[in-house]
């Protein structure tokens, strides 16, 4: 063919276009994942090659760097890199990033909807019989299970309850262990009378501001799986118990810093670390950050117990998260599994815990960090798994938590509940 006419050229481009159209009409979706119980364990073999460890804990990078150094010196054929995203990005895009395992031979996931999605997408290998799983406190492994198969190992144990400045509490004579809602309000009043802001609450930050919700709802909801039931429509936000809880939020308004709904997490931490606020309503996972900001006072946790009269079911809340897993798409599963085994070793887990000021779910860890030692009794208390992570639908979770923020901003509790319920109804 010496020459090609315009008509032939158009025909050629048209054919390319049609080809593209046909190619793009291939249905979405990939290979159907196996049923949970038939998922294979990670492949075994030589511990060598490159391993990517994907997670969102940028603040732990240096600690992991040191652990990686120790791991690679013990396994000379392996090189290991961290692929760190921000927690927001990891929450939103983690699944897409990890599919195909271009990154994340070993990875972490959030408890709740992300873990469930990862399982459904067939991203996990089965760690039920792995040596690593045997290192964990059995009670703390539930967050990484699906249909009795252990897909992930919840590494961190955090307490999403307000941190308190013990010096201020002592000075104000405030009760650090109120037994009920009146007791908690009494604590707040004593702190306010002492001239400090009782609670620093980052209401402008959805993720951190929502942690208080765990404490507020756990003892007033009619069922422990209230999040699941709200999502399924069997419990309504317009029910009396929920509106009652919103009224308790309303009672907190005088004890929060001014304009709290516009406060981001960093200024909230600053207020607390400077001693201007007696409580930081986020959680134990901010211990290290607060210390980095220069806080030298002794710290504890407090449970805003919303129960009224009688005994309360729970003494606090905890969350088991940073769920470690080995990627089913990884072509270097032996080395990835070895890294998870390494992290799950009590000595290495202890190093991680003490350096990052976070408890871990690995059994037999010795906590040498003073803050962790101080908070360790909470590991033995009757605490509930943080309920906000029961929500599988993020729009529902945000709407529910936004109802509390709206009340603090001045909306009537019944109106806030009705508005949130409308969003839930649209997604049931």
């Amino acid at each position: 063919m010496d020459h090609i006419s315009r008509r032939q050229a158009l025909g050629l481009f048209g054919a390319l276009g049609m080809g593209a159209a046909v190619a793009s009409c291939a249905g979405p979706g990939g290979t159907a994942p196996a049923a949970p119980n038939s998922v294979a364990a990670p492949a075994t073999g030589e511990i060598t090659g490159e391993v990517s460890f994907a997670h969102w804990r940028g603040e732990d990078k240096e600690v992991f760097d040191e652990l990686i150094k120790r791991f690679t010196s013990a396994n000379s054929g392996v090189s290991l890199t961290q692929n760190i995203s921000t927690s927001n990005d990891y929450n939103a895009q983690g699944l897409q990033k990890l599919r195909g395992a271009s990154i994340g031979d070993a990875f972490a996931s959030f408890r709740g909807s992300q873990f469930s999605n990862f399982v459904e997408a067939g991203l996990y290998t089965n760690l039920t019989d792995s040596p690593a799983a045997a290192q964990y406190e059995p009670d703390l492994l539930a967050a990484g299970k699906s249909e009795d198969a252990q897909f992930g190992l919840p590494y961190q144990v955090v307490f999403p309850m307000p941190l308190i400045n013990l010096d201020i509490f002592d000075r104000a004579g405030a009760d650090i262990a109120p037994k009920d809602w009146d007791g908690f309000l009494g604590t707040c009043e004593a702190l306010k009378s002492a001239g400090v802001v009782p609670i620093s609450w980052p209401g402008g930050d959805v993720g951190n501001g929502g942690q208080l919700f765990n404490c507020m709802i756990i003892n007033v909801a009619p069922a422990d799986d209230m999040g699941t039931q709200i999502e399924q429509g069997t419990l309504k936000l317009t029910d009396d118990w929920y509106i009652g809880m919103l009224r308790q939020y309303q009672q907190l308004i005088p004890y929060l810093q001014p304009n709290s709904t516009g406060t981001a997490v960093e200024p909230a931490q600053s207020l607390f670390s400077r001693g201007d606020a007696a409580m930081l309503a986020t959680g134990s996972y901010h211990l290290a950050a607060v210390r980095d900001l220069g806080a030298e006072f002794p710290m504890e946790l407090i449970f805003p117990n919303t129960s009224t009269g009688g005994t309360s079911k729970y003494e606090g809340v905890y969350n088991a998260t940073f769920i470690l897993g080995v990627n089913a798409d990884s072509d270097n599963q032996p080395a990835a599994m070895e890294w998870v085994n390494f992290l799950s070793d009590p000595e290495n887990a202890g190093y991680y815990a003490n350096e990052t000021a976070q408890h871990v779910a690995v059994a037999g860890v010795e906590y040498t960090n003073e803050d962790l030692q101080k908070l360790s009794p909470w590991l033995e208390k009757k605490t509930a798994l943080a309920p906000r992570f029961q929500f599988q639908n993020l729009d529902v979770r945000n709407a529910v938590e936004a109802s509390a923020t709206a009340v603090i901003a001045g909306t009537d509790p019944e109106q806030a509940a009705a508005e949130a319920q409308q969003i839930v109804d649209e997604r049931v």
Partner: protein, 321 residues
Amino acid sequence: MSVSIGGAKPASESRRSKASPPHDQKKRKSPTRVSPALYLFPLPAIAVTLVFLVMPTLQAFQYALTDWNGFSAAFNYVGLDNFVRAFTGDSLFTNALANNLKFMLVVVIFQTVVSLVLAMMLTKNSRGSILLRALFFFPTILSSVSVAFIWKFIYDPNFGLANSTLGAVGLDSLQGSYLGDDAQALYWVAATQVWFHAGQMMVVFVAGLQGIPRELYEAAEIDGAGKWQQFTSITWPLVAPATAIVVAYTTIQSFKAFDLILGIAGNPPKASLDILSTRIYSSFANAEFGYAAAQSIIFMALIALVTWLQRRVLRLTQKQE
């Protein structure tokens, strides 16, 4: 200009050939027949466009008709349900749509006015003007995430510059919650967007204004036209092409202020700061790929519609002037 190849023909022959071409001319090799190699040159560009633009766009249309969650092998075709849901059964989407239209309106009006005023003050190429233009243009070269963080701290009610400044000059009563106030939050972000991009749009206006002949203003002055009359009768109609660019670009920017909103409000943003792009992102993050694809198509259609309407309105107003 016409060019004759191979020498000029007699006029009579030329007329004849226009009226009815002779048979041998029909047989002559078509000037459009060229070497096939020439057609290969655009192929890489076409292939890239097909793979990275056409195919994803077509796929978005296909996904929009499904309930695909983004990772499962199983999905169902749901027809137009996703589109119906967006407009009739999803208050978060309609809220984001309303927010986006409000945001767009405020940003387009204020950004156009501010950038035009700045451009009119700095049209001359004096040293001072050039320096100020550079100064006003400076925010544009910052990343939107940096801008978001700077303004997040300015708006912080406890330690932020805005409340501190008001407090320092005795205007404590004006101190506010800014982003914490649902009724105002969107407007504060709009103010940030205007600060961020007004300098960029000012440059477009400066180019447009410098193209207007000075003689027109001189003639208008001799005729006794005031400044306002000069603006309405000369500047505004003649700066129309630049205005069209500014308004269209600002509109698209307003719809895509994704990174600024996420940087300022966090992810996910609260409902009062949720715009269409962040809502679509939330739907993707929420494992609703089919629904998110439908929202993306609505989003695309809306930008096209609004831009088209603006161009029509702008053309009409500037013609009337």
